[in-house]
């Protein structure tokens, strides 16, 4: 063999030997991908829009049979679109677009309010489609969506029925009470029945909840409504009423099996807080066992009212918007992230500018009894953003606390931050003391 041939053969050999370690196993990327701290979820196949997917999120208690580690509902805000996203124990997700005649009857009106109906064992939720003034229920296990039809017709007199929904035990009955707000009232379906009770005219004067007609449509598509042990006397309904030009308020109602009564109002601390009451969240931030109320007043502040709430009281803490934020407080959730006593508050600002990207959005985490600290978690990260953020992404439009249960039976599962943007949902696995995924 001639010298050039020997040289080339030698070169081949050297390259082959050198290339062996360089030979790439693309499966390593799959492994790494499964180890990614954040799970980004796109809209499932058949969803109405890939860019209007996770503007409204509802984490739901995982199924008791352990068939999924977590699941949540995601709804479009511009049209009818409802998806059930399931996450397995390894952290991989799968999505399913829910369909059915009840959704078809919405005639493209969106579902903009969702509340879990806990305790059913199969996962179910109450849905509100205010544009259509309809209420629906969904069974996650059977993936069935049904229309919830009140016994008395409400739509004729109350537009935007279902603009806010909540579930809780207000009346002390065996079953949970369903609560649905409209443009001007709130209805309690005692023990989940179709018969409702609502506040009387006097109560509505004491606790005004009528939305201003001058509010932008977005603010009238979903209003803050929750049920919790807010009062010293027991559970109450808290419903936010942001103002168009005037300061907003949060009205508190108590309920019995026969009446809904005004319990008081939390007025906006500042005259400029027109958005006061646009978002609400219940959490035990100081770890005293008494739920505290977090009231968002976007775009500038979030107020903490320590429980028990005394109507008319001033907020315990005011959390100002960090610099550069544009819609601070548009989404709120309370959850225990660090595993220590006291919940943390996640405050979404979908209009925040990130690295010069206007409207990229972020979520800021606050901790401590007065939510003054922002860096006490296992990771130093206190501001969540999309790693590959883009302008107008509106990351943080929705936030939630996603129960994640690796194995059944699921007792006190850890909750993971669930952040929504119109095009994606993000689940964070590593912000707590441990990564709960089964590796």
């Amino acid at each position: 063999m001639r010298a050039p041939a020997k040289f080339l053969l030698g070169a081949f050999g050297a390259i082959a030997i050198g290339a062996l370690p360089a030979a790439c196993d693309w499966r390593e990327f799959d492994t790494l991908q499964n180890q990614a701290p954040v799970l980004a979820i796109d809209s499932p196949a058949g969803f109405s829009s890939s860019s209007d997917f996770a503007g409204i999120l509802l984490p739901v208690t995982p199924p008791m049979d352990g068939s999924a580690a977590a699941w949540f509902l995601a709804s479009a805000t511009e049209t009818t679109g409802l998806a059930l996203v399931t996450i397995d124990a390894a952290g991989s997700s799968s999505g399913l677009t829910l369909t059915g005649s009840a959704l078809d009857d919405l005639a493209s009106d969106p579902v903009t309010a969702m509340a879990e109906i806990p305790g059913t064992g199969t996962g179910s939720a109450l849905l509100g489609a205010p544009t259509a003034s309809r209420l629906l229920t969904v069974d996650l296990e059977s993936q069935t969506v049904s229309q919830f039809i009140p016994a008395s017709p409400l739509t004729a007199t109350e537009p935007l029925l279902g603009v806010g929904v909540a579930v809780g035990n207000l009346t002390g009955g065996a079953a949970l009470d369903l609560v649905a707000a409209s443009n001007s009232s709130v209805h309690v379906f005692v023990d989940g029945s179709t018969t409702d009770i609502a506040p009387g005219a006097a109560d509505l004067i004491s606790c005004p909840i009528t939305l201003s007609g001058q509010l932008p449509d977005h603010d009238k598509s979903n209003r803050a409504l929750l049920v919790g042990n807010l009062l010293a006397s027991g559970p109450a309904i808290a419903i936010g009423t942001p103002g168009a030009a005037a300061p907003g308020s949060v009205s508190l109602f108590t309920a019995t099996t026969s009446a809904v009564t005004c319990a008081g109002v939390l007025a906006a601390p500042a005259a400029t807080d027109t958005g006061f009451g646009q978002t609400l969240a219940i959490g035990d931030f100081d770890g005293d066992g008494v739920p505290d109320l977090l009231v968002g007043a976007p775009p500038t502040r979030v107020y903490l009212y320590k429980g028990p709430i005394a109507p008319g009281a001033a907020p315990t803490t005011t959390i100002p918007a960090p610099a550069g934020n544009a819609a601070f407080g548009s989404a709120l959730v309370a959850m225990n992230l660090d595993g220590k006593s006291g919940d943390e508050a996640l405050v979404g600002d979908p209009g925040a500018t990130i690295n010069g990207l206007t409207g990229a959005g972020n979520v800021t985490i606050y901790t401590g009894a007065n939510l003054t600290k922002t860096a006490t978690m296992a990771t130093p990260t206190t501001v969540l953003t999309d790693h590959e953020a883009s302008s107008g992404q509106a990351y943080g439009t929705a936030v939630g606390a996603l129960p994640f249960c690796v194995s059944a039976p699921c007792v006190a599962p850890p909750r993971l931050p669930l952040v929504g943007a119109p095009n994606k949902a993000f689940v964070y696995f590593t912000l707590g003391p441990t990564d709960p995924r089964a590796m």
């Binding site: 063999m1 001639r2 050039p4 041939a5 080339l8 053969l9 070169a11 081949f12 390259i15 082959a16 050198g18 290339a19 360089a22 030979a23 790439c24 196993d25 693309w26 390593e28 990327f29 799959d30 790494l32 991908q33 499964n34 180890q35 990614a36 701290p37 954040v38 799970l39 980004a40 796109d42 990771t379 130093p380 990260t381 969540l384 999309d386 790693h387 590959e388 994606k424 993000f426 964070y428 590593t430 912000l431």
Partner: protein, 531 residues
């Protein structure tokens, strides 16, 4: 016929050698003398006169002159010419007589057979015609008159035909009687043979002093032609005479024999006492003989005789199948020496490579250069590894078992080797592809390391990070490129090792043997081959 042999007479006639002797020469040739034989001169004079008459068509006179020449020197050729002249003169009886005398004088003449055939024809022409067959008797029809046919002894002239068949044979004046029935047609006359044309013979007379010198024609390789004195006819074309006699200096002459000439060559050889005479014989007939130097080629073959300058000389004998022989001899002046050399059969064998495609190749025997092909090389008996190599061609390899005296001829057909250019270019392509694969793999690795670093440092990257997809695609791309590169590289490697059709060879073994040989010049061993 008396031959004057005085040296004086020889010198006098030195310049007048012979008619027609080319290169006739000069007085410087002391050895050359005109014939001292007066009778021969007279005969030659008569011969030339006869030829003059023959050319004129006066054949009778020519015949008498040829006969006169014969009477001076009784060369059979003269009788032949007498017969030819008489035949031309239409005197077949005499022609027959002299042809017969010619055969009596020279029964072994080279043209004896033709002369006998001619005599047969002449005999038939001279024979009387057969008697006519009696025709049916017809009243009034007189019988043919006897004696009207041509008289016996008046044969047809050569070239003339017998009377035409059907020609009236009746004598003139004997017409058929009027009113008589026509006579029966005579039987057809027999067809007489025709004598082919003939010409006289030339004559060459070669004599020497001393007589008994060996005559060679043109060169000595064809062997001795005869010894002096010699006379006879030669073909009409120039020929070189070489006369050689032991103890005498060899002489050469150029002559041009003709059918109408008598060429008389008489050469007085001069004694050359300062030369030696050698006779070299060998057990191998036909071995090439070289004297003193081989570069001028062989001067003869065994057996060989010739003169040589006195002194020491080196004799080389070569013959394929035998060991070359070299021997020193001492040649004394004026003496004759005989050397009988014995050649030994070669102990070796030979390998011969032939074939047009081997031109310019190399024969490697047992990994040592043998010769530049096509060629023959001598090898020791036994097994040998043969390799014929040539640039641009596939090697031809074989093993031969050589025996003593065996020549193995291999007709090799070299097969062109495929070009390596394609393999080189393919290698480069493979290197580029593999290099690209390595680069893409490097990019993939960078993404992987970056992701690992981010994950381990707590960076909140999500599973949709573009590095996952890019890295994965790069990893797959790198693997694909590696795979393609490996395939191309394998193709390139195959190209380097690829060879064309094998060069082929047809082997033939030939045994060189000796056989006893008996010839007029002696005995010896002849070289032969068995295939």
């Amino acid at each position: 016929m008396t031959r004057v042999r005085s040296r004086y007479a020889a010198l006098l006639l030195a310049a007048a050698v012979s008619v027609g002797a080319s290169g006739s020469s000069t007085s410087a040739r002391a050895a050359e003398e005109a014939t001292p034989d007066k009778a021969l001169n007279d005969a030659k004079e008569a011969f030339e006169t006869a030829q003059t008459f023959f050319v004129r068509g006066e054949y009778d006179t020519a015949a008498s002159k040829f006969l006169e020449a014969y009477n001076k020197k009784p060369y059979p050729a003269f009788l032949f010419n007498v017969a030819v002249s008489y035949e031309k003169a239409k005197q077949l009886e005499k022609a027959k007589e002299y042809f017969e005398r010619y055969l009596q004088d020279d029964p072994n003449a080279s043209d004896a057979a033709q002369v006998r055939l001619r005599l047969d024809v002449i005999g038939k022409l001279l024979a009387p015609p057969p008697p006519p067959v009696a025709a049916p008797t017809v009243a009034g029809a007189p019988p043919a008159t006897p004696g009207t046919p041509a008289a016996p002894g008046a044969p047809p002239v050569p070239g003339e035909s017998a009377p035409a068949p059907g020609a009236p044979t009746a004598a003139p004046g004997t017409p058929a009687a009027p009113g008589a029935p026509p006579p029966a047609p005579p039987p057809p006359a027999p067809v007489l043979p025709v004598l082919p044309d003939i010409d006289t013979k030339g004559l060459v007379v070669i004599d020497s002093k001393p007589q008994g010198a060996t005559i060679y024609l043109n060169d000595k390789r064809s062997g001795p032609f005869g010894k002096t004195p010699w006379h006879g006819s030669l073909e009409s074309k120039p020929v070189r005479l070489i006369l050689e006699s032991k103890g005498w200096k060899a002489e050469e002459r150029q002559i041009s024999p003709r059918s109408d000439k008598l060429i008389d060559v008489y050469i007085a050889l001069s004694e050359e006492h300062y030369l030696g005479w050698i006779e070299i014989t060998s057990n191998v007939v036909g071995a090439d003989l070289f004297i003193d130097r081989k570069d001028i080629g062989a001067i003869g073959r065994t057996p060989f005789t010739g003169q040589l300058k006195p002194g020491k000389h080196t004799i080389f004998l070569e013959r394929f199948g035998y060991e070359p022989l070299q021997e020193e001899i001492d040649v004394p002046a004026g003496t004759a020496m005989q050397h009988n050399l014995t050649m030994q059969k070669s102990q070796a064998g030979w390998v011969t490579i032939t074939g047009k495609t081997t031109e310019g190749g190399r024969l490697i025997v047992d990994e040592k250069f043998g010769c530049t092909t096509p060629c023959r090389t001598q090898l020791a008996p036994g097994k040998h590894k043969i390799l014929v190599e040539k640039k641009g061609f596939e090697d031809y390899e074989t093993t031969v078992e050589l025996g003593q005296g065996i020549e193995t001829t291999i007709e090799v057909q070299m097969s062109p080797r495929p070009s390596r250019a394609h393999a080189v270019s393919t290698s480069i392509v493979a290197l580029v592809i593999i290099g690209a694969g390595a680069y893409v793999g490097y990019l993939s690795d960078q993404n992987k390391n970056s992701l690992k670093s981010d994950i381990s440092s707590g960076q909140l990257i999500d599973n949709g990070d573009s590095r996952f997809s890019y890295g994965k695609v790069e990893a797959i791309g790198a693997d694909v490129l590696y795979g393609i590169g490996a395939i191309v590289a394998a193709t390139a490697i195959y190209g380097f090792f690829e060879h064309g059709p094998d060069s082929t060879g047809v082997m033939e073994h030939r045994s060189i043997t000796l056989a006893p040989l008996f010839g007029p010049e002696g005995t010896g061993l002849a070289l032969g081959g068995r295939f």
